[in-house]
């Protein structure tokens, strides 16, 4: 992200041209931050979490790239490692990159297995992380080994949303999630591709 070079496109162009010509100066510019999104339960000491991905929405905003190999409907099995995808955010400086990462993490939706998305957001929003006062002991010093976010003022709204959704599902009459005329997560997810998104 900091070089502005699309490596895959560069490889194809190189293969076609047979010589390294016409590429931008890959001098690094700005900051990039990668958040590794994993199917792990922070509330259980980051134990792996498996199961079907019921909904997956990837942030579609400038300066954010999602490199992932899963789609809604896929099963996260215990046979591979827990990495679901990498959320890479670019900014003019570290503060801007960090701010974009926090916002992109808030927009990333993974329902099904438990994930570390909210934990990652707590990390990038932590004052010490923002100030760059980091060491290899940062996580141990600032976070419990089993991390669970506290109650939020949204808890009741979320319960109402769940109730309203169940009610609307019932009103649809069809099998759950696929009532006539209503988009289901399987069909309504915007298309995305690995390496897509917007780089500088």
């Amino acid at each position: 992200m900091v070089s502005g070079v699309d490596l895959v496109a560069a490889q194809i162009r190189l293969a076609l041209a047979g010589a390294w010509t016409g590429f931008p100066d890959p001098a690094p510019r700005g900051w990039a931050l990668e958040c590794r999104v994993c199917a792990e339960d922070p509330g259980l000491g980051f134990a792996p979490s498996t199961g079907r991905i019921l909904a997956l929405e990837v942030p579609r905003e400038p300066w954010v790239r999602w490199d992932g190999g899963y789609d809604a409907g896929n099963e996260v099995t215990p046979h591979y490692d827990s990495l679901l995808g990498k959320l890479v955010c670019w900014g003019e400086d570290r503060a801007a990159a960090t701010e974009r990462a926090a916002r992109a993490l808030a927009h990333l939706v993974v329902l099904g297995p438990r994930t570390n998305v909210e934990f990652l957001r707590a990390v990038v929003e932590h004052p010490r992380f923002r100030e760059g006062r980091l060491s290899t002991a940062f996580l141990e010093e600032e976070f419990a080994s089993s991390w669970r976010r506290g109650a939020t003022c949204d808890d009741a709204t979320a319960a109402l949303a769940a109730g309203a959704w169940l009610l609307l599902e019932g009103a649809g009459g069809g099998p759950r999630g696929s009532a006539a005329g209503a988009p289901s997560p399987w069909t309504s997810l915007p298309g995305w591709r690995a390496g897509g998104g917007h780089g500088p």
């Binding site: 134990a47 792996p48 909904a55 109402l160 309504s188």
Partner: protein, 173 residues
């Protein structure tokens, strides 16, 4: 159309009763009347609106688990039915850490079992090791226990929540 149910998140119960008529949602939450709001299905979830404020929640269901993504947070509700709630209230419910067994914390494969029936294990002692996604998780005794039965063997696949080791029930006073 209406919905009445108990949604449990962690140890917090939400008693929700809702009625939808002409796109307007009315009802109660924990017995308190709600200001009416608009509700409609939207992209795999639901859109709630009141005045000029909107909130979009992505919702998915996995059996009795209702998952809600709202404002960057995932809420995991269990849809609790009234009969089960009554049974829980009957006193036979085991609290976390108090159960006469140790269960697998994740779906994976049993790497090793460290105990046999009759063994006395100190609190924190290793009972078994479960592995998934190249990570090993040590299942430890929640307190001082005596092993009654071992229900797992090395190399066997296990589901999350599967009982690995049973303990002798302590004498009840």
């Amino acid at each position: 159309v209406n919905f009445t149910g108990l949604l449990r998140e962690g140890d917090r119960d939400h008693a929700v009763s809702l009625t939808l008529r002409d796109g307007e949602l009315r009802g109660t939450h924990d017995g308190h009347a709600l200001a009416p709001m608009r509700a409609e299905r939207r992209d795999g979830g639901v859109l709630l609106g009141r005045g000029r404020e909107f909130a979009r929640a992505v919702v998915a269901r996995d059996g009795e688990r209702i998952l809600v993504h709202l404002h960057g947070r995932v809420h995991e509700f269990a849809l609790v039915d009234a009969t089960r709630r009554a049974r829980d209230a009957g006193g036979r419910r085991h609290h976390a850490g108090d159960e006469p067994w140790a269960a697998s914390p994740m779906t994976g494969v049993v790497s090793s079992v460290a105990v046999a029936p009759g063994d006395a294990v100190a609190a924190g002692g290793t009972l078994a090791v479960v592995e998934a996604m190249k990570m090993q998780f040590v299942v430890r005794a929640p307190r001082e226990v005596v092993v009654k039965a071992v229900r797992a063997a090395a190399g066997e696949p296990v589901e999350i929540g599967a009982v690995l080791v049973e303990f002798e029930e302590p004498e009840r006073p």
